[in-house]
Symmetry: D3
Subunit: 65 residues, 6 copies
């Protein structure tokens, strides 16, 4: 029973729906495990709650504008 | 120090309180580990963020009405 | 689709089987969500990898002998 | 910084490598977030540690032979 | 690529920023792994969703007033 | 009850003990939450199970030799 947890910033409804479809499809294709056994959970957290190398996603996004 | 994480859709306060009690009690009973060592965390996610077999919980609920 | 993750030290096969049964049953009873929607995962970690208040489970167990 | 956690039974090295590639690629394609920001972690647990509807993956696999 | 997940009640922005800095710094210092490889995610849950020994954080806070 | 989960490659016992101490201390210092409420769990995964930007930690380590 594979469980796919996708932690991210906030995403719109269409992106989430497509992500669930594509993550499930590609996992079925690669593992050969039947589709109905796959669980996917998308977990959205605020940009200032998540960081890489000590810089929050919020800070990274500002620096890329 | 067992840590029980319960990921779900949204639940009302009474259900959450009872779930915390019963999950803790049954875990103590089965493992023999003292109650004060148990941590429980209930994590609620929107129905369209969680899917099984590529169908979101929101879609499954609609199909069951 | 509730997902129950149970993080713990090592447990024997009988305890794990009973834990899966009882956690599922009590969750069905409290939430009213059908049994087939429940996923349970027992995750075993070494006692010296887990700590409470800065003391590892290994140290706590020694202090209780 | 999306973090993809893939919990499963044991997989061989080739399947894991392909899974990491395809999960990353499809997530980049759907979200538009640059590839270098994606972290993927494959977590393998024994079949008798994971259950759906109260039946372990080990029991499900036996029933499908 | 160490991933630090910090589950807690709600925290203010300054505390979160300092927590991300200090968790990253101390982890770099202890492990010797370069700073840019560290991901930190702070996950805030309501006090009545988290419990120890069957008592929610909300109940514990009330009992300490 | 803050829960700190530290996912990483394999670490030796001394590093794990120091990590548990320092993560707990710095979290107490920043949040003001009493030490005994903190749980820390170090989760070690094989280098070829974890990837950033589609490259496994094993591949990254080889490329840095």
């Amino acid at each position: 029973m594979p469980y796919i947890s996708f932690e991210t910033g906030s995403l719109n409804a269409d992106v989430k729906r497509e992500l669930i479809q594509k993550l499930t499809e590609v996992s079925v294709e690669v593992t050969g495990i039947p589709k109905e056994f796959f669980m996917v959970s998308i977990k959205e957290f605020p940009d200032h709650n998540v960081a890489v190398g000590g810089r929050t996603v919020a800070e990274i996004k500002v620096s890329q504008q």
